[in-house]
């Protein structure tokens, strides 16, 4: 690994692409999960699923 040879740029660019694409995917999935969890908690706290007009205790 000490010397990547004359094609080091291509090798490093490949790994950079993996980090960028997978990093973006992981961030998107985790942030979306958090956002949905927060939205659901807020709705449940307001008693949005109740049939009656009463607010949540």
């Amino acid at each position: 690994m000490s010397n990547l040879g004359p094609h080091a740029g291509f090798i490093l660019a490949s790994y950079a692409a993996v980090v960028l694409v997978l990093g973006g995917l992981i961030a998107t999935v985790v942030l979306d999960h958090r956002a949905q969890k927060r939205a659901l908690a807020a709705l449940e706290q307001r008693g949005a699923g109740r049939r009656s007009g009463q607010a949540a205790p």
């Binding site: 690994m1 999960h33 307001r46 109740r50």
Partner: protein, 258 residues
């Protein structure tokens, strides 16, 4: 089959996936760490391709996963159309961006490997073109999901498109055998066994399993998010109806139409 029926309940799926996720994520981190160590510090340079063989360790798992996730989506599409499985279109929707990302990684790393080895980033040969078509199908499926608001209607339409698109999967796999391509034939999944030396094969297999664990963990998280999104949608509609009912009971407000 009974296990699958149990999982069909979204509440049970949420509970089980919460138990499975930490183990799957831990396995992914461990396998990727070991795999990359072996790939970078133990596996030798190739006698013909030199150090560029390091690209293989990310290119090949990405290609396998791009195909695997499309196959998962096809099974889920059957679940949507034939069995009306409650989680099938959730699984399908959550899988599409993950498969698309691996198809994109496969194309990008392939281009960076192709330039020093073939002298070009891109050539319109059967393997490269069919993988590009796979990425375009993934993007079409993601776009269709975003176009339609109603999840069950979108699920059925996407399922039909997914089933039609599956014809591309065997084309990708056998393109190197059916046509004269610049891309090399299969080196691992062969009837007469892998043609790669074990010093390179083991890191490749460990990384493939590691990337698979990572992709499955992401799929579970994305499915959980999608289930919550649908619950949020339902609760928002219920809340709007409740507020509307309350407003009707309270009577018309002065100055505003009833």
């Amino acid at each position: 089959m009974a296990g699958l029926i149990d999982l069909a309940n979204p509440t049970r799926f949420m509970r089980l996936s919460a138990v499975v996720l930490p183990g799957l994520t831990g396995a992914a981190v461990l396998l990727l760490a070991v795999g990359f160590y072996l790939a970078w510090f133990v596996a030798p340079a190739d006698y013909q391709q030199g150090e560029t063989i390091r690209i293989m360790f990310v290119h090949v798992p990405a290609a396998w996963l791009a195909l695997m996730f499309y196959t998962v989506m096809t099974i889920a599409a059957l679940g949507t159309l034939v069995w009306r499985h409650p989680l099938a279109d959730v699984a399908q929707k959550a899988a599409a961006p993950i498969g698309a990302c691996f198809a994109l990684i496969c194309l990008l790393t392939g281009a960076f490997w192709g330039k020093p080895m073939w002298g070009t980033y891109w050539v319109w040969d059967a393997r490269l073109t069919s993988v590009l078509v796979l990425l375009l199908i993934y993007l079409g499926i993601i776009a269709l999901w975003r176009t339609l608001d109603e999840p069950s209607r979108a699920g059925r339409l996407v399922a039909i498109l997914t089933l039609v698109g599956f014809v591309n999967v065997p084309i990708i796999k056998f393109s190197v055998d059916w046509w004269n391509t610049l891309h090399q034939p299969a080196s691992v999944l062969r009837l007469d066994g892998p043609s790669i030396h074990p010093s390179m094969l083991w890191p490749l297999l460990i990384l493939a399993v590691g990337f698979t664990c990572l992709a499955l963990a992401l799929h579970l998280v994305a499915m959980r998010a999608e289930i919550m999104r649908r619950r949020v949608r339902t609760l928002t509609i219920l809340e709007a109806e409740r507020l509307d009912r309350l407003a009707t009971q309270a009577g018309p407000v002065q100055g505003l139409p009833a």
